[in-house]
Assembly symmetry: C2
Homo-oligomer: 461 residues x 2
Amino acid sequence: MSKSTVIDALLAELGADLVQLPAEFGSRKLHDWSGLHGAVPTALIRPRSTEDVARALRVCHAFSQPVVTQGGLTGLVGGANALGGEVALSLERMNRIVEVDRTSATMTVEAGVPLQVVQEAALDAGFYFPLDLGARGSCTIGGNLATNAGGNRVIKYGMMRDQVLGIEAVLANGEVTSGMHKMIKNNSGYDLRHLLIGSEGTLAVITRAVLRLRPRPTAVATAWCALPDYDAVTKLLACSQAQLSAGVSAFEVMWAGYYDAVLANLPLRAPLDKHYPYYVLLESVGSDPDRHAEAFEAFLGDMLEAGVVSDAALAQSEADAQAFWTIRDAPGEYPKFIPHHSAYDVSFSISDVGQVAAHCEQRLQERWPDALVMIYGHLGDGNLHIVVDIPGSEGRLHDEIDRVIYDVTREFHGSVSAEHGIGVKKKAYLGHTRSDAEITAMRLIKTALDPRSILNPGKIF
Amino acid sequence: MSKSTVIDALLAELGADLVQLPAEFGSRKLHDWSGLHGAVPTALIRPRSTEDVARALRVCHAFSQPVVTQGGLTGLVGGANALGGEVALSLERMNRIVEVDRTSATMTVEAGVPLQVVQEAALDAGFYFPLDLGARGSCTIGGNLATNAGGNRVIKYGMMRDQVLGIEAVLANGEVTSGMHKMIKNNSGYDLRHLLIGSEGTLAVITRAVLRLRPRPTAVATAWCALPDYDAVTKLLACSQAQLSAGVSAFEVMWAGYYDAVLANLPLRAPLDKHYPYYVLLESVGSDPDRHAEAFEAFLGDMLEAGVVSDAALAQSEADAQAFWTIRDAPGEYPKFIPHHSAYDVSFSISDVGQVAAHCEQRLQERWPDALVMIYGHLGDGNLHIVVDIPGSEGRLHDEIDRVIYDVTREFHGSVSAEHGIGVKKKAYLGHTRSDAEITAMRLIKTALDPRSILNPGKIF
């Protein structure tokens, strides 16, 4: 059928209020933060309800019309970009907090609610929603679910899938799977929730979710630690998890190369006077401010005495803690000093991370002796971020750098995507992490649930 | 093809060491703890390796021969029973601990390792494996994965799916999906691990797993609390989670009817002198024995002063704590005094649990005035266990009692299986918890991954 026929059918079914044509897009943002080229969707559907989504998908299914679902468009792998011929489905109008249930410690939301709105509503209700990432103001719960978002506090609270008790989703044919349960335990048949979470819009459109709220931590302790070698880093991780009683809420490692480049290029204050091979931003949360601070300080003292930590600065105020975090959050400022850098999000067994970092650095610098290699990450999750800049390359070496990093990832049985997803950007490397049998199984599931391949085609596989 | 042809092919492929015929079964246990009638398998395959499992399934797939996978046979819903015509595949010989990786805090195991062996190996290595249930000595990691086992410490550590970083499994056609990763973060394509976990042997045979180990808690505080009403119970839950700093490792509620029946029928000591409407066994773990005990006692004092708790006994020794747990674990002794009871494992929104319990009790006693109704559960997970005995019924009323309990479960949007699975026993009630669209999606996935329906047919759906 011709394109105009599908659009006509969508307009007839949903009305002009819900269906916009490209002439009406104006300056609307249509692509994510990946920097990848994306196409302009042939129409934009903005449903107000799950039933609207179901009606839209029934029409698209009937016409075998591809659909790309969009949330806050803050993804980094092109997962929400149109590739050509898709209609876009934006959940921006489904942005209501439906309920906060204080007894069950749950919040029921529509998929279009921005993450920060959920975080704030949780605090207002006396709770805490732990998922946190830089894009919090723009990214939406639906996007967080579609990509199984991670972030800094996974070590304590887990990823997005661990923050969700139930989801409602619309399948490719418009059928609504309503699993809006509030229970932690629910072993009744296959866990479709976990299959849909992280499937990047290729299996269903997630429309609503029951989020799990946590007790609000009332004590936070933060330290900037300097360490002599990588063994000391893993030792600090193990000791902090054993001795800080499940309080460890961030364990952010920075290699010297990262720290030096950040301090050299951004107007930041060094937390310590001297220079060391490794730095760790350690954060622990608890419920009793006095006891917590005391235990944290005692722990740091033990680590200094044992030589695990060479030196440390303890945050005496929120401003101190914020200053430490600013160094860790510097990647947001990279565009200012290395606009053409390549950035990676990979994960490994914690016991391999030190070697992996050394291999990557060595291979890159063998090939490009003046390569700037900045390595940092969430060590408790085995998650490394690697940023590479080859001066003068002007971005022409992205593919070659990809191959170096992803080959090391394959050698160490790592994941080519720790938290960003596969999207378009990492499609060629999915087989570095998943076996043929796994990818075949994924494709069988995709075909079973979306036989006409209308949901976000061209992504993941 | 005739049955003997398949068996011949299995014998030819695997040899007599791996394939036993019924004449050789002797007194071997063939059925689970559900009490449901099961058939005798036509053969028993006992592989020594993943490759053996793959070879066995390739033959079964070629002959469209149904297979039932068996672990420790401690399930409660008939999920591992043969129904007629299956060969059984027991992973009892794949019982090796392959590796303990102290830096990554992981343990790699074969699926046939008993849970208790894993728990003990974790302690020996200075770690803790938190999954725990009564069948620990017999149940296996493979069975725990196939059923997504729960237990008492889910409130702090999650269910079995939260204890696993990677799994290896063999699909119906003998293909091996090897996802033995050690990372917490791995967003590369669909999460097959979470789909296979809890699928009760119907989608694949799980052969190996990478388990996540936790720091060993070095402080445990336990109290037996008496409460005046259900609101106080939910208040104690919320306050303990907010104030005991993620330490709450068990929150076991017992209704008075449970407590009275247990104390009347078993030789146990009452922890408190008086009688109350609700009891809670509260346990909290930490890493600093002195501080932890002090904080726990202060918290209990606050709760007593606020009237949330009417009275409480604090365990002064491990023996005291054990005595409290013996009251909670009394269901293991039910066969002695109510051999024909019906037992339920359901879950609800925490805010509904009080009403659900009242409804169940009322409806049962309206219909059978002398019904004994014993209610207890893991409140933090919304998980209720309900035990019903109708004196003189000799077990003839199971189906009618099922209908009462599961109708209430449907009315309150609960789950007909919190932690036991569906198996055969709850098949008729799956639709009480899952929508038609969800069940259709599950069937599509089943058909996609196991087109000849050889893996545990007749279970779940």
